[in-house]
Amino acid sequence: MATLTETPIPAPLKDPIPGPPSGQDPGSLLPGKLVRARPLFDPEIVRRALRDSFLKLNPLTLMKNPVMFVVEVGAALVTVFLLRDLFTGAGGLGFEVQIAIWLWFTVLFANFAEAMAEARGKAQADALRKTKGDAMAKRLVGKKYEVVPASKLRSGDVVIAETGDLIPGDGEVIEGIATVDESVITGESAPVIRESGGDRSAVTGGTKVLSDQVRIRITSNPGETFLDKMIALVEGAERQKTPNEIALNILIAGLTLIFLLAVATLHPFAVYAVSSAGAGVVPTIAVLVSLLVCLIPTTIGGLLSAIGIAGMDRVMQHNVLAMSGKAVEASGDVNTLLLDKTGTITLGNRQAVEFIAFEGVTEEELADAAQLSSLADETPEGRSVVVLAKEKYGLRGREVAEHEAHFIPFSAYTRMSGVDIDGRSLRKGASSAIAKLVEDAGGSLPANFQEVSDRISRTGGTPLAVADGRRALGIIHLKDIVKGGMKERIAQLRAMGIRSVMITGDNPLTAAAIAQEAGVDDFLAQATPGDKLTYIKREQGEGRLVAMTGDGTNDAPALAQADVGLAMNTGTMAAKEAGNMVDLDSNPTKLIEVVAIGKQLLITRGALTTFSIANDVAKYFAIIPAMFLATYPALSRFNIMQLHSPQSAVLAAVIFNALIIIALVPLALRGVKYRPVGAASLLRRNVLIYGLGGILVPFPGIWLIDRLLVLLHLA
């Protein structure tokens, strides 16, 4: 490619791929979505989550969450002491009962948050499972086929799928062409073409053949199909903790241990204080456990896994399948975004905008020749030439059948196409190819031929020369149209600290002009798949994380190398296997949304961690004076909330601690609002809300609960 200065016009496609309408916000353009947007508290989901919250009390499962496990052990301990006091008839039972109840609620609330997040996925998985059903396969044996259950198919088997059949498994079309309804996977109701060879050969199990017949070589074993993977993914069955989640878990487990030390040593300290002051009593187990539970980061501990699951869920609501949570997390970290020019930055096709005639040729003459040569050209470029000629010069598309017309299709070798009509030989094509054609035929090129074509290239256009025999008539100016709003989005990316790099097969001049128009930070011109891979490796070598989209088999190595590889669902199986996300809408612009979701996930985690730790300040002010009021009445100076009694203070803190988990479930599931602004202002804003807010909010909260407890005569 490196020796070419112009881009060949792509061969006319027999059947254009029904891609998504370009230039729209992918969030809104989808007719149907993989995950039906459900209300946050869908009754069906809530019912399921309520049941699961109790099942999750099993200490063996809860052990994976050290913070909530400590709470459960504490709750059990208080319950045991409560039972003992019940039998010995000790006083103050009302307080102990309430503490025990609220401690159990704390665990249940955290379980509920996780169960809610999981239940949303499970409901979707059930729906998918139904579509999987018990498809039958027509397996080829020799020249005939036998009908076997789809679950018996192995990788390498060849099956036949005809009109009305469900495709029994993932595979490659090896023969034939068919329209396929893939709405079960993509939610897109318009059928797509699947044919052997090329980049549209991959078919997915569970989709339906609408017309024609194809032979398919199965590429996956039962249980490993795309649909199986999807079910496992949405259900969260294969959910593994992401690296950052594990690290955060270590942090909150460590904090839990520190608070355990602080509370456990408080007992001997209290023994000394009581004996030395000669007044008061050592705090009871119920009070000590209450203090511990209030201090350990239960808010983030209870919501952490829900945040992760909800993040995956949000990606899916954008019709993107993330193969792992790790990929979603990595997308928040992306520094460099490789965007394919065509289809991502520009509308998928170039359009004719101008006819530039050479000396001695009228523009009408040129337009007429251009239109004639493009009549059989079904590419968007070809059609745009016909349309421009009609709009500008009122030339109608003629019925060519009445003439003796012989159309010459585009070939990569000649890099031109055209028509032989009425003894004329009209050609249009890459300017260098036309120049050679004219000169070879003994004609001479107009003086400004090169200058005009260079000028168009420089402005990002593609020059397309038109010749009639040995006479060069003029040049058609084809222009790439940058998608509306693209420039603003790229500017947003820059504000987020992400470099966008445009990848194109165009020559450097053309590429530079479009790069400038779209406002991207860098571009890679005349890019081969190998160049892409090299670029990614270089960026990664400098410590950057790279995201890219791709669909062809030759994109696979780069997709695999990139930290976030978003494969298009229309792409080949190889591409889908290599990437770590698949966009079911095949809309490459969606990479930007995925990055935002990744960031949102991380922000939500950080915000709730900060909030959780900041909350502790107020709880100390509630519990410490309550604990030692009898020993050191002077500590009541610390009771700045003027809580009613030691019991009401401890109870209020515990209740607040439990309720805040439930109150934050919607935030955990929806995620903290993300604005595409720089890190500094994002940090300032979030520190104010979740840091400072986290310190302040519990004061009125605990005070209010204390008042209510007094009103209800509960303390």
């Binding site: 690296p243 602080a262 408080l266 001997p268 504000a495 992400i498």
Partner: protein
């Protein structure tokens, strides 16, 4: 508070601000292996050292090798100091004829650990326990060695951030040698001469016996003090030649030497923040760490000074003037040297505990409760406000790791600090260090609060069969000098100081018993090595990583916002861990004092 007092604190800070950059650049050059202006004079000494100890200068060590070298160095130092103490009776330079009965094995253990770990906790009185040889060849040498080791570890940790895709952190022996030869030795030498000029003694004489004008016979201790005094401050060691430490006129004769001593404490730690900035290639990062320390230092110093200047309300009620007047300082002068006064004592106490120095020029035990809270809290937050030489820097970097990890997520990227991703390993190591510190302070103080020692068993005739070894019979709390919250503060302070490798004492506890010597020794070991090894491990993992270029999306770890975050993390983590304990100590004591209740000195038990 007086204008003069406030000015002293501010002038002190300005001097530190001025020395930070030049010394910081000097150290960065030194540890990056570049030539400095001292090389023409000192390079031969450095080369000679490598020849003698058999080290190849270019050899690099992985974090494990670096740690192993540090541990070997510490073990050797420990054995050397231990044996030197036990054998002092048969060794020279011992005019007072001290022998091994004055240093019991448990005391020798405690002292050896104390000086090797840069703690310099002293369960002994130097002038009545140790020979000049032990003081010079044992303790003063360790003042250099433990300080140099601290600087070496800090530099290794900084290299973890500065290097990329390397599995080595430098060479421990080279770093220790350079720190000693180019920084500690030259500064100490100059300062020691200056101190001699100002009246600090330096001799090998017998103690002087004289009769005072009142006709009382008095023994005046002598010794090679100046040579130990300079490094005591410069290396943030803090172990005094005499029991009274920097309150003793032979150690710290006048306000000028006092001021110089406070400056020496912060000199290296403050400059290391700049060295950090230079070595990671972004000086703003260094200034940010400096600023966070400065904010906490100034807040602590002024709060402490304010609390001391308020004095004791009970005295005020009795009609005693507690305000500063032309004729008297007002406030709380109990336990302070009149030649230093309230401001210089409060400043000294704040600085000595911001750093892990632990030298004192007054009795912290006599501070008002809130003023006493400042040193206690400084120690419990890990002495990261500039901190000990080296230890302060790697301590605050630990907090920086935590701060970026907690708050950094809020910018929507996985956390990174100075271009390095903070991941599982780093968080694990940071938490390990924090847990070890909290464990050591809280658990040991808790056991001491409640442990009882049984009466020795007696035979038929009522004679004890065995000595009560660990502590005299009864509760360990009987060793406290005061009861109530004040006694509790003494206990908490002792274990905090040992764990934090500070070495200052609230004083008041009779700590020279096997129980205290062993538990405090254990606290020093935990606090030094379980803090430092995890950080070296984290540095080893950081050095392997690539540096991520900074973009608009990167968490800015410089500027006021991050200073606030870092300060908030230090204070919040410290406060959340120790608030219950502090509430039962200085905080409640303050409230009680305001209501007129004080805690009397208990009669010292007879055996002390």
């Amino acid at each position: 508070m007086t204008v003069n007092g406030i000015a002293q604190i501010l002038i002190f800070f300005l001097i530190i601000l001025a020395t930070t950059k030049p010394l910081g650049i000097f150290m960065a050059r030194l540890f990056e292996g570049k030539r400095t202006f001292l090389h023409p004079i000192l390079r031969p000494l450095e080369v000679l050292t490598y020849k003698v100890i058999g080290v190849r200068e270019e050899t690099e060590q992985r974090w494990t090798q670096y740690t192993a070298a540090l541990l070997a160095f510490s073990v050797f130092s420990f054995l050397f100091v231990y044996l030197l103490q036990r054998l002092q009776g048969v060794l020279p330079l011992n005019p007072q004829g001290f022998n091994r009965t004055s240093v019991t094995p448990d005391l020798a253990f405690n002292t050896a650990v104390s000086f090797v770990t840069n703690t310099n906790w002293q369960a002994y009185s130097g002038e009545s326990t140790l020979s000049y040889l032990v003081q010079m060849a044992g303790l003063a040498v360790q003042n250099f060695a433990s300080a140099a080791a601290g600087i070496a570890v800090a530099i290794a940790v900084v290299r973890g951030f500065a290097r990329q895709q390397m599995d080595s952190l430098g060479n421990f022996w080279v770093d220790v040698t350079r720190a000693t030869v180019y920084i500690l030795l030259p500064v100490s030498t100059v300062v020691a001469l200056f101190l001699c000029w100002q009246g600090v003694i330096q001799n090998f004489n017998h103690y002087t016996t004289l009769t005072t004008v009142e006709g009382v016979k008095q023994i005046i201790a002598q010794g090679p003090v100046a040579s130990q005094e300079a490094i005591k401050m410069l290396g943030t060691n803090g172990g005094g030649f005499f029991n009274a430490n920097s309150a003793h006129p032979f150690e710290n004769p006048n306000p000028l030497t006092n001021f110089l001593q406070i400056i020496l404490i912060f000199l290296i730690p403050a400059a290391l923040t700049y060295t950090f900035g230079v070595m990671v290639g972004d000086r703003r990062q260094g200034w940010t760490v400096f600023s966070a320390c400065a904010v906490m230092f100034l807040a602590g110093a002024f709060f402490c000074y304010w609390a001391e200047a308020q004095g004791n309300p009970t005295l005020a009620k009795l009609g005693i003037e507690t305000h500063a007047t032309a004729l008297q300082p007002g406030g709380n002068m109990e336990g302070k040297e009149t030649r230093f006064g309230i401001a210089a004592s409060a400043l000294f106490a704040t600085v000595t505990t911001d750093a892990s120095c632990g030298a004192v020029n007054g009795m912290h035990d006599s501070f008002t409760p809130l003023a006493g809270l400042v040193p206690l809290f400084n120690i419990e937050t890990g002495e990261v406000i500039f901190g000990g030489v080296g230890a302060g820097l790697y301590g605050i970097l630990l907090y920086a790791i935590l701060a970026v990890f907690i708050a950094g997520l809020m910018v929507g990227r996985t956390p990174e600090y100075v271009g390095k991703k903070v991941e599982q390993k780093e968080v694990k190591m940071a938490m390990l260090a924090l847990i070890a510190t909290a464990f050591s302070i809280l658990v040991l103080a808790a056991i001491t609060s409640v442990i009882h020692f049984a009466e020795p068993t007696k035979d038929a005739k009522g004679q004890p069969v065995a000595q009560s070894y660990w502590n005299p019979p009864g509760p360990a709390t009987a060793n406290f000098a005061n009861n109530g919250p004040h006694g509790f503060s003494e206990n908490l302070y002792a274990y905090s100081s040992a764990t934090g490798n500070n070495g200052s004492a609230f004083a008041g506890i009779s700590v020279n018993t096997p129980w205290y010597n062993f538990t405090l020794g254990l606290a020093m070991l935990l606090g030094r090595f379980l803090f430092l090894i995890p950080l070296l491990a984290a540095a080893g993992s950081l050095a392997l990583k690539k540096k991520i270029p900074q973009t608009a999306g990167t968490l800015p770890t410089h500027g006021p916002l991050f200073v606030g975050l870092l300060v908030g993390t230090v204070i919040l983590v410290g406060a959340l861990t120790f608030f219950p304990a502090l509430a039962l100590g200085p905080i409640v004591e303050h409230f009680l004092m305001q209501s007129g209740k004080l805690f009397a000195l208990l009669p010292f038990p007879l055996w002390s």
